[in-house]
Symmetry: C2
Subunit: 331 residues, 2 copies
Amino acid sequence: MSQLRRDPITGRWVIVNVEEPSGPDAFEKEEHVFKGINCPFCYGNENLTPPEMDVFRNSGTGPNTSGWQVRVVANKFPALINTGILDRHGVGIYDMSSGIGDHEVIVDSPEHKSTLADLSDHQVELVINMYCQRAMALIQDPRFKYILIFKNHGPSAGASLEHDHSQLIALPMVPKNVLEELHGSHHYYNFRGRCVFCDMIFQLEQGRELIISENEDFISFCPFSSRFPFEVWIIPKRHSPYFCHMQDREKPALARILRETLIRLKKVLSDPAYNFIIHTSPLDEVNEESYHWHIEIMPKLTRVAGFEWGTGFYIVPTPPEVAAKYLREVK
Amino acid sequence: MSQLRRDPITGRWVIVNVEEPSGPDAFEKEEHVFKGINCPFCYGNENLTPPEMDVFRNSGTGPNTSGWQVRVVANKFPALINTGILDRHGVGIYDMSSGIGDHEVIVDSPEHKSTLADLSDHQVELVINMYCQRAMALIQDPRFKYILIFKNHGPSAGASLEHDHSQLIALPMVPKNVLEELHGSHHYYNFRGRCVFCDMIFQLEQGRELIISENEDFISFCPFSSRFPFEVWIIPKRHSPYFCHMQDREKPALARILRETLIRLKKVLSDPAYNFIIHTSPLDEVNEESYHWHIEIMPKLTRVAGFEWGTGFYIVPTPPEVAAKYLREVK
């Protein structure tokens, strides 16, 4: 019989196949096939993108030339744009807002074929520094209420270009999924006087079977109520609601564990497509004690179908304790 | 600039590309490629499935032989199973339940290559009758709190067999997405004293640009805050919270508009993969006045990626008013 497990933050149930768990070989390997184009994210092609908005580059090199380590440009096909005033009004029973926001691409490195897993710890740290720097810059704009940072790796995870990159979207409202987590963890805090994520870390450390690895500042683990097979979260041991308030000493520790985790996923699942999303509180000081930022990595191994759309339940063929064992033990 | 629209039921925002709408040709046509197998849903192969649980069949034909019109069998790979007691307990901060439920396959017709769009109105009515009959039978079981009926058409929508079929899952709790809709519409009702879906129908009839077609009992339309390009809802004009309390006269009207809508989608989008989900209140009498059952059809034309996972926002390349025009005008 399967087991139903409920996430204490969102109330989401998942159906876990504990009796006949699928191993890594149960999932179809996906070839990452991209259209062959002159890559706009490679050295020498800086003129193929909009001008850079932010950059880490070698001293002595000019803007929009090669010689950069991490480069930020506007998305050429933005979901939201950064000019104009915020116009909000009702349309009968619906609410409407102009599409004000910001949509940036963070090119992780000049290396076309390298994913975050293939880069050096130092380069991954640069990427993390850029995430923080852009989030801090954009949150100054009073039109923006939330900054989302995420990555789509592989076409089936929504990537349209092969050259690895991350994305940042600034939104004129706190999005629904974030509100849901904030409310859920706030509710838990009001009831128990503790952060649900700190409690999760405590529980992880009791059994340890869900932990993949840890260092002085972070733990990577498969959550007990994972939605997806081989879903991995990385969480700071220090309680903090805000990603971009990370301490300087934490950044290299995050770079190491993020890169290591992505290497493990790449080895166990043969370079799966995945999304990762940085979950953080908006800088509103309301969720100071109840929210705890973290990263969720979701390999794309299964399809979301009618059942998931209709219920919000997820069917998980690989229990997280089985996934964690594979990921922990891989060489 | 894009336009943000907010759904009044769930509070979900969508980002609609109103300036450069994608037409039907903007989406990649998908070939529905299935593994070639001896089809368990065809006449003569009744022994390849578990025994039938319910059936409409020609008089004089025996159970588990050919001669049926609609056949219901247990899912061979069930997400939940129908034996055992409901065991619920806590695991630290998590809740757990045994995987009690029911997972049935409703084979829509004996015709291997026919989708609902290709069948007769009468055959589609038989399928709808079977949906109601199974839902009414299962809801008698006190272990089940919700019955979900849905269809996955095409591999990218999660179908694993070519022979068209629907699915029914009985759940030991009301699922999150359903609760969210019930709460949202209840909140709207408390505030305005009106059903949000009845208000939606009123608003549809003012402008009419979102309406695809209608008959005496139903309207099919593209909702103003569609999540997906060419998303279509079918809603009864008569306020009623419960799908399975449909009146006898409404069933043929639903069969006609459902089939017609699927034909329109098939023509405009070249047989797209899609999910449809019947949204209904549980039979708890709490949502009598505030909820209104309906069907949501979601063609699979775009990919859900990091942005959607992180926010619950959806990016919609085809505004619903544009989609409705294509669907309304197709021959």
